[in-house]
C-alpha cells in the first residue's frame, strides 16, 4: 500500500517537474547565525549538489521516527556529543568509511586531526562550542566594584549582585557549580562520579536559587542581559560572539570554567542520497571549510588544522577583525575549561535531569 502510494506520488512529481540534474540534500541544523555560517562555508562552496538547511530543536526523536518508519527525510544532521554516541549505538546513523575524508596538508588523517578523539565511525568533525558566562561591560563598573572574573564570581551574588540567567537543563551547570565550588576543571567528572559529588553541585546551585531566571532558547540570555533582567547569564559563546562582532555589543566573557561541547555531523541511516551526502560531508570537514566557518561565527573548528589556518591568517572574521579572541578554544580560554563528557551524561543524564527539574520547581 505504502509503496504503491509512493510510486504514484513519485510518478506524479516526476511528470510535473523536470528533475534537477544535481541532487538536493537536506541538512538539519540549529538555525540562526550558526546555520548561516554553515551555509556560507559549506553549502555555498559545495559543487556536488545543493544543500538545503532546515532547523530542528535538537534531540533524536525525529531521526528515530524517520529511520524506524523507513521514511527518511533528512540526509545530514548536526548533533550534540551525547546524541552522536547514542544515535550511532542505536543504529540511527550510517557508519562512514574513514579513509575518504580529506587529510591535512601534512598527510595527517582527519581522525587524527581532531581536537578530541573521534568517538565512533558515524561522526564527522564540526565545531566546538561552549556554555560561558557573560555580562554587559558597564554592569559592575557603575556599581563601583571589581568586575567578575571567575566561575566562582558567577555564583557569588553578594559581591556581584543581580540575577543570573541559566538554562532549564542540567548539562554544564553541574560542572560549573563544582568549578565554582573549587574543584579544578580537570577533576570535575571524578567528583561527579564520586559519592556526594552531585549533592555538592546542587548545594552550590542552591546558593543562587533565589536569584535565577531560567531560559530555554539560545537567544533568550542575550535579551535578559540586554534588558537588565539579569546582571549575568550563561549563553552559547557563538550567540555572544555574534552580538559582539556583528552588532557591536559591549560584553565581557569570562572563559574560566567554560564547558566545551563537541558538535558533529552525521548521516541519517537509510538516506536516499548517500553518495551526495557523503560528498557533502567530505567537503564540509576539509580543513579549508572548517576554517572558513570561522569567518562567519566564533565557534572553534574541531580540526586542529582548521584552527591553524585561522590563527595564521588573522584578521579572519568577515568584518576584518580578529576572531581568535572570541573562540572558545584559545590557550587562555582553555586554561580552566571543562570538556563535556558525553559518556558520563549518557549514563546519568536522565537521573540528573529529573533531579534538576525537581530542583527548579522547589
Amino acid at each position: 500500500m505504502r509503496k504503491s502510494l509512493q510510486f504514484v506520488l513519485a510518478a506524479a512529481i516526476g511528470a510535473a517537474i523536470v528533475l534537477p540534474a544535481q541532487a538536493e540534500i537536506t541538512v538539519a541544523s540549529w538555525g540562526g547565525a550558526y546555520t548561516m555560517s554553515q551555509q556560507k562555508a559549506y553549502a555555498d562552496t559545495f559543487t556536488g549538489g545543493t544543500a538545503n538547511f532546515i532547523n530542528y530543536n535538537g534531540g533524536l526523536g525525529e531521526v528515530r521516527t524517520q529511520v524506524e518508519s523507513g521514511n527518511v527525510q533528512w540526509d545530514i544532521v548536526d548533533v550534540l556529543p551525547d546524541q552522536a554516541r547514542i544515535g550511532c549505538d542505536e543504529g540511527l546513523f550510517e557508519e562512514l568509511p574513514r579513509d575518504v575524508f580529506t587529510p591535512t596538508a601534512d598527510g595527517v588523517s582527519m581522525d587524527d586531526d581532531t581536537l578530541v578523539p573521534v568517538p565512533n565511525d558515524c561522526v564527522v568533525p564540526q565545531i566546538f562550542w561552549s556554555y560561558v558566562p557573560f555580562y554587559k561591560a558597564d554592569t559592575f563598573q557603575s556599581k563601583g566594584r571589581k568586575s567578575p572574573k571567575t566561575m566562582a564570581d558567577f555564583f557569588d551574588v553578594e559581591n556581584f549582585p543581580g540575577k543570573r540567567g541559566i538554562h532549564t537543563w542540567a548539562n554544564a551547570l553541574i560542572e560549573m557549580a563544582l568549578v565554582a565550588d573549587g574543584v579544578p576543571a580537570k577533576d570535575v567528572y571524578d567528583v561527579m562520579s564520586a559519592d556526594g559529588g552531585i549533592d555538592r553541585a546542587f548545594a552550590k546551585l542552591d546558593t543562587i536559587k533565589d536569584h535565577v531566571v531560567f531560559w530555554s532558547s539560545g537567544s533568550k540570555p542575550l535579551e535578559l542581559v540586554e534588558s537588565g533582567e539579569v546582571s549575568m547569564a550563561l549563553a552559547y559563546n557563538g550567540r555572544i560572539g555574534a552580538a559582539m562582532l556583528s552588532e557591536g555589543a559591549d560584553y565581557v566573557v569570562n572563559w574560566d570554567g567554560q564547558v566545551l561541547n563537541e558538535e558533529w555531523l552525521v548521516m541519517v541511516k537509510g538516506t536516499q542520497n548517500y553518495d551526495e551526502a557523503l560528498a557533502f560531508l567530505i567537503h564540509a570537514s576539509a580543513p579549508e571549510q572548517q576554517a572558513g566557518q570561522g569567518k562567519w561565527i566564533n565557534y572553534g573548528p574541531m580540526r586542529a588544522s582548521g584552527l591553524a589556518i585561522i590563527e595564521a591568517n588573522e584578521p579572519w572574521f568577515n568584518t576584518g577583525v580578529n576572531i581568535m579572541p572570541h573562540m572558545p578554544t584559545t590557550k587562555a580560554g582553555l586554561h580552566n575549561a571543562v570538556f563535556d563528557n558525553p559518556d558520563w551524561w549518557a549514563d546519568n543524564g536522565d537521573a540528573i535531569h529529573e533531579r534538576y527539574t525537581a530542583w527548579m520547581g522547589q
Binding site: G14, E68, I86, C88, D89, D343, M360
Partner: protein
C-alpha cells in the same frame, strides 16, 4: 381458508425474484453507498487517531526489545537467589556473556520469553568468528540447511529487483529491501542486511544454500546485534543509571575473553558486573509487558520482588508535575470563565455594529501567531517590562521590589488565560445569542429582582455553553506545552514539557507514551464526570 394459505408462496416482484430478496439487495446497495460516503472520514480517523493512540498504548507497556537481547539470561534469572544480596552464580554470568556476544538468538526459532528452551544445546554452540559458518549455523538450527528457510528472504530480494522506475528509485527500493531482510530476521527495523542482499542476489533460490550465504548471514546478524545491544543499553539505563556505560565498555572488552569461567573476566572488563544493583534491575526487565513506565510516571518503581515502592527522593518529580499541571489547568479554566462570561454577554446583547467590532477584538488575537502573543507578554510582564516600569513610575512599588511576573507560575497562568480566552468566549456567546431577552423581562415582570432573574433564569440557560467552554479550555490547558516551555521558567513547566523531553531528548518513548496515556485517560474521565453531572447532550460547541 384458501386465502390464508396463499401467502405461504413467496411474493414475487415483476422480474420473478422474491420480494424479500430484492428488497434486501436494494437495502444492501444503499447501505454500501452510505458506507462509501463515510469511508474517507473513517480511514482518516483510523490513520491519524486510532493507530497512533494504539501505538502509544502499546509502547507504554512494551518491553519486548530487551527480551530479544537477553533471552537466555531472562530464562535463567529466576535461579538466582536474589534475597542474599550476593552476586549470581557462574551460569548466569555465562548466559549474559552469550546473550551479548553471540547471534544464536536470531537463528533459534523459539527465542523469546517463556518459549526459550534452556535445555537446547543450540544456545551454547559457538560459531567460529572466522568461519566456516554453515556447519555451526545448521547445527544451531537445522532449518537453515534447507532452501525453504531462505526462500522468503530471496523473495524480498527478487521483489525489489523486479521494481521498475528511474535509476534512483530502483536504488532506493533495493535499499529498503536490505532493511526488510533484517527486520525479517531480527526485531529491528533499522538494521541493514546489505551483505545478505548481495549473496541472495546470486543464489538461484532452489539449490542447497552454500557457505557464502551463511557467511553473509553471520556478518549482517552481527552488525544487527550491535544495534540491538545499543538500543537495549538505552532501555537498561532507564532502569538503573550506569547500564549504558557498562554495556558499552563490556561489548568492546568481551571479545577478548577466551572462554569460561566468565565471572571474573566480566567483572574485570567492567566492575559494574560485580554490583548487585545491576543484576537486580535485570529481574525487573524480564517480562515482555511492564507497568514500569506507568509507575515511573508517578515517581514509583518496582523493587526486586516486584513490590511497588517510591523512587529515590531526589528523582521524585512527576507527581509534583501532575499536581502542578492539574492546578494550573483549573486556575486557567476558572480565570477564562470569569473573564469570558461578561464579554460573551456583551457580545450577545450589544447592537450589531458594536458587537461586530468587539467580536473582531476577540478573534484578532486568535488569528495572531501564538509565538507573537507569547513574546508580547514577555515584553509586558518581565521585570524590566512595561507593567513593572509603570508601577515603579507611579511609585506603587519601589525599583528594588519589581514584581516577578514572568518565567514562573504566574506568567504561565496569565499568558495561557489570554491565549485560551476565545475557546471559552465563543461557545458561551453562541448559547447566549439564542436566549431571548424577553425571558429576563418576564422574570422581572413576575417580581424577581434582576440578580435573582439572572441566577434563576439566565444563568441556567447558558450552562451548556459554559460546560462546553470549560471542557475545551481545560482539555487544551492540561496538555499545553509551548507556552510553559517559553515562559514557564522555574515553576511554570508542566507535564507536557516532560513528555516532549522524553520523546525528543532522552528517547524514553515508553515513559513519554505512559504519561501521554495517563493524560488521555484523565481527559476521558473528566468527560465521563461531565456527562454524569451535566449530560453531554447539553454540550453546545457553537
Amino acid at each position: 381458508m384458501a386465502i390464508a394459505n396463499a401467502p405461504s408462496a413467496p411474493i414475487l416482484t415483476a422480474d420473478g425474484i422474491p420480494l424479500r430478496v430484492s428488497l434486501r439487495r436494494s437495502m444492501r446497495r444503499s447501505k454500501l453507498r452510505a458506507l462509501a460516503l463515510v469511508l474517507p472520514a473513517f480511514l482518516f480517523l483510523v490513520t491519524v487517531f486510532i493507530l497512533p493512540i494504539g501505538n502509544l498504548l502499546t509502547r507504554s507497556v512494551d518491553d519486548t526489545l530487551i527480551n530479544h537481547q537477553l533471552p537466555l539470561t531472562f530464562s535463567l534469572i529466576e535461579t538466582w537467589d536474589r534475597d542474599q544480596q550476593s552476586l549470581p552464580e557462574e551460569a548466569l554470568f555465562e548466559s549474559v556473556y552469550l546473550d551479548l556476544t553471540t547471534i544464536n538468538k536470531f537463528l533459534i526459532a523459539n527465542n523469546t520469553g517463556a518459549n526459550v528452551d534452556v535445555s537446547d544445546v543450540a544456545w551454547w554452540l559457538k560459531i567460529p568468528p572466522k568461519g566456516p559458518y554453515k556447519d555451526s549455523i545448521v547445527q544451531i538450527n537445522p532449518r537453515w540447511g534447507e532452501a525453504g528457510a531462505w526462500q522468503p528472504l530471496k523473495q524480498i530480494v527478487d521483489n525489489s529487483l523486479a521494481y521498475r522506475g528511474t535509476e534512483k528509485e530502483q536504488k532506493n527500493v533495493k535499499q529498503r529491501a536490505t532493511f526488510d531482510l533484517c527486520s525479517e530476521l531480527t526485531p529491528l527495523n533499522n538494521a541493514s542486511c546489505r551483505t545478505l542482499f548481495k549473496a541472495l542476489e546470486t543464489w538461484d533460490g532452489q539449490s542447497v544454500p552454500d557457505e557464502s550465504l551463511f557467511a553473509a548471514l553471520y556478518k549482517d546478524l552481527n552488525s544487527a546485534q550491535k544495534i540491538l545491544t545499543g538500543k537495549s543499553s538505552t532501555r537498561m539505563n532507564y532502569e538503573e543509571p550506569g547500564w549504558k556505560g557498562v554495556i558499552r565498555t563490556s561489548v568492546r572488552k568481551f571479545k577478548k575473553i577466551e572462554g569460561p569461567p566468565y565471572r571474573d573476566a566480566m567483572i574485570k572488563a567492567n566492575k559494574g558486573w560485580g554490583e548487585v544493583r545491576f543484576w537486580q534491575s535485570l529481574v525487573l526487565m524480564k517480562d515482555a509487558r511492564t507497568m514500569g513506565y506507568y509507575l515511573n510516571a508517578f515517581d514509583r518503581r518496582y523493587d526486586v520482588d516486584k513490590n511497588i515502592i517510591l523512587r529515590s527522593e531526589e528523582r521524585r518529580v512527576y507527581v509534583m508535575l501532575w499536581w502542578r499541571t492539574l492546578i494550573l489547568s483549573l486556575i486557567v479554566t476558572v480565570g477564562c470563565l470569569v473573564l469570558s462570561y461578561p464579554v460573551a454577554h456583551l457580545l450577545a446583547t450589544l447592537p450589531l455594529r458594536y458587537s461586530n467590532l468587539l467580536m473582531i477584538c476577540v478573534l484578532m488575537p486568535f488569528w495572531t501567531s501564538l509565538l507573537v502573543r507569547i513574546v508580547s507578554w514577555m515584553v509586558m510582564l518581565q521585570q524590566e517590562g512595561v507593567i513593572n516600569d509603570t508601577l515603579v513610575w507611579t511609585r506603587l512599588i519601589s525599583d528594588e521590589n519589581r514584581l516577578p511576573m514572568m518565567y514562573n507560575f504566574t506568567g504561565t497562568v496569565i499568558v495561557m488565560i489570554q491565549i485560551l480566552l476565545p475557546f471559552m468566549i465563543l461557545p458561551i456567546y453562541s448559547v447566549m445569542k439564542t436566549i431571548p431577552p424577553s425571558y429576563m423581562r418576564a422574570a422581572q415582570n413576575l417580581g424577581a429582582a434582576p440578580s435573582l432573574a439572572f441566577l434563576r433564569v439566565y444563568m441556567p440557560l447558558t450552562l451548556p455553553g459554559v460546560g462546553a467552554g470549560v471542557i475545551l479550555v481545560f482539555i487544551v490547558a492540561i496538555g499545553y506545552y509551548i507556552t510553559p516551555e517559553l515562559v514557564g521558567g522555574k515553576d511554570g513547566r508542566l507535564i507536557g514539557n516532560m513528555i516532549a523531553y522524553h520523546m525528543q531528548k532522552s528517547l524514553n518513548w515508553g515513559l513519554g507514551a505512559a504519561m501521554g496515556t495517563v493524560l488521555l485517560a484523565a481527559i476521558l474521565v473528566l468527560y465521563w464526570v461531565y456527562d454524569k453531572i451535566v449530560g453531554v447532550d447539553n454540550l453546545k460547541m457553537g
